[in-house]
Amino acid sequence: MESLVSPRPLPQDPMIRNLIAQARRAQLNRRTLLAGAGAGATALALAACAAGGGATKPTPAADASSTDKTLNWANWAAYIDEDDAGNYPTLVAFTEQTGIEVNYEVAVDDNNTYYGKVKDQLALGQDIGADLSVLTDWMIARWIRLGYGQELDHANLPNLANLTPSLQNPDFDPDRKFSVPWQGGFAGIAWNKEAIPGGLSSVSDLWDTSLKGRVGVLSEMRDTMGCIMLEQGVDISGDWGDEEFSTAIDLLQQQVSDGQVRNIKGNSYLEDLKNEDTLAAIVWSGDITVINAEAGDKWEFAIPSAGGTLWNDNFIVPIGSPRKTNAETLINYYYEPEVAAEVAAWVNFITPVVGAKEAAIAIDPALAENQLIFPNEETLSQAHIFRSLSGAEEQKYQAEFQAILLGS
């Protein structure tokens, strides 16, 4: 107590100065002293913990894979083959083959919420409890930009030769130094076949007055804006800027304020399709296969005439993971065509592995014909990848898009 009361030169840090000045001003009764000192100390400790600045990139953890034969894999729901007992057959086979015990966790529900959960640990280079995370292209781009992923050793990934050529050199990760695709899919349009027997062919068909208030779009900016911009003749993988983006934003804003668009949602858009709040929507391809299987063959998916978006979810090894080699062993395993075909047969998304189609014919010839799982050249030529955004662009465009989602 005495030391606080006795006059002493104040420390330089303005925050500490303030706290001390406050403490002095207050009558030194026990409670305020305790609370002030305690809160000050803990708040300062917290402030020190929080990752500030952002100028320094974290350094990768030392690899202990040779002694530690375990692996933690954070993935999305319904994104790997699963049998009725709840086991993952391909993973069981992997453990038998390599002796690496895999702790598979459905830990990713949304790119943004997952990022919110792990970002502070990543910035400090700490282990986030996952040695492999599966995230969408644009989030992978952010991780690579911020130095949150470990560089992969391609010597441990001989099967990477099976990677589809079009995915070998994305602008956010040249030569796939940090990330490797897991599964991909299209964003396009889907409609209720009973309500709209004529079907839809383009994004503009969604703005037909007969569908007023019954149209849904995705809250994933790149997919919704990508489809609209393609309809407006923009090459979304190429060189476009603020002007093209705001033209598309104006259209979406118009459709939302007019009540044409009923709602803007993430994965839960499927509920709206099922209960018929929406009759047509911008959707993700694999989902439509799933709800058709679940709730009767009622919906049809199409890539819009002007094109749809193509996205991929990718493996990345978080910077704090001490099991990088184990992770690489697993990635390499899933690039064996037979394994990839087994996964593709279950998850209904596009596999990035060349040769998986031939392997799938052995499982089920009809499967190999499904354009949503094994798209041919023609289908692929209709799908476009939304170009990577810089940090500043991401902030600006997301803000404009969110402004529509939040209304006014």
Binding site: A39, G52, G53, G54, G213, R262, I264, Q398, Q402, L406
Partner: protein
Amino acid sequence: MAFAAFTTTEAQPQAPKRKSRIALFLLLPGILYMVLFFLTPLISLILTSLQAPNEFGDIGVYDYAFNWQNYVTVVQEYWPHILRSFGYALVATVLALAFSYPLAYFIGVKARRWPLLQSVMLVLVIAPFFISFLLRTLAWKQLLSDESFIITSLKALSLMAPDAHFTGTPAAVIFGLTYNFIPFMTLPLYTTLERLDLRYLEAGSDLYANPFTVFRKVTIPLSMPGIVAGTLLTFIPAAGDYVNASRDFLGGPDTQMMGNVIEANFLVLLNYPAAAALSIILMAAILVLVGIYVKRSGTEDLL
């Protein structure tokens, strides 16, 4: 009440010192808890709300600063959401009171003769809590969807326009808020009405007051503690609620409340200072509104 508290302690200045030390010791876990889990996050929140974007930083990188303009920016940008939050919360509170008062009166006063009925009804009021709040809200979303029995019937009866819809509208959000917070209104009302001395009402009638006057001049003032507690328990969480208004539940792009704006700023836009500033504005606004309300209803000594 504050004065009363002070005068009673001053009236016994001779309280032995050792006792207060024991009291302090016993309070220590509570104080520590508050410092750790209330004061620290609050200070951290205030510091975050004053942060400025890092000049060379990527999205979501902020430095500690004294950027008070954050508050001005968020109010300018999100004032409709702020007004909407309090508007929805107010309407929901009034509706909840209108539904809950007769219900609580029936359980607490009229059903006194049948204790079994009283307990059964109370259980029914609490029963929704046995199921998750999220699940119940999702269930309403299904029940009120365009092709649902309820909405198609309303349309068949011409009570709703054929092209109208319910989910995603302000009415749906207010409905959800009212529904979800009714138990919080009913229970405090019940506890005061249950102790209501009916002889006061008889006395009122004996003095030639008609039933309405008795209700207005006797019942309402006597049940004021329940009304105040119930409205606070409803209004405060309703103003900060972000589930009902969420686009994934009963809301749409036109019904977003402050909680949704905070969520979007925090998770999607990674604008932590804006999210923090909005949270502080929400807390401060609730504190002021509640303060005025308590003062106005003249029930400081009930809290």
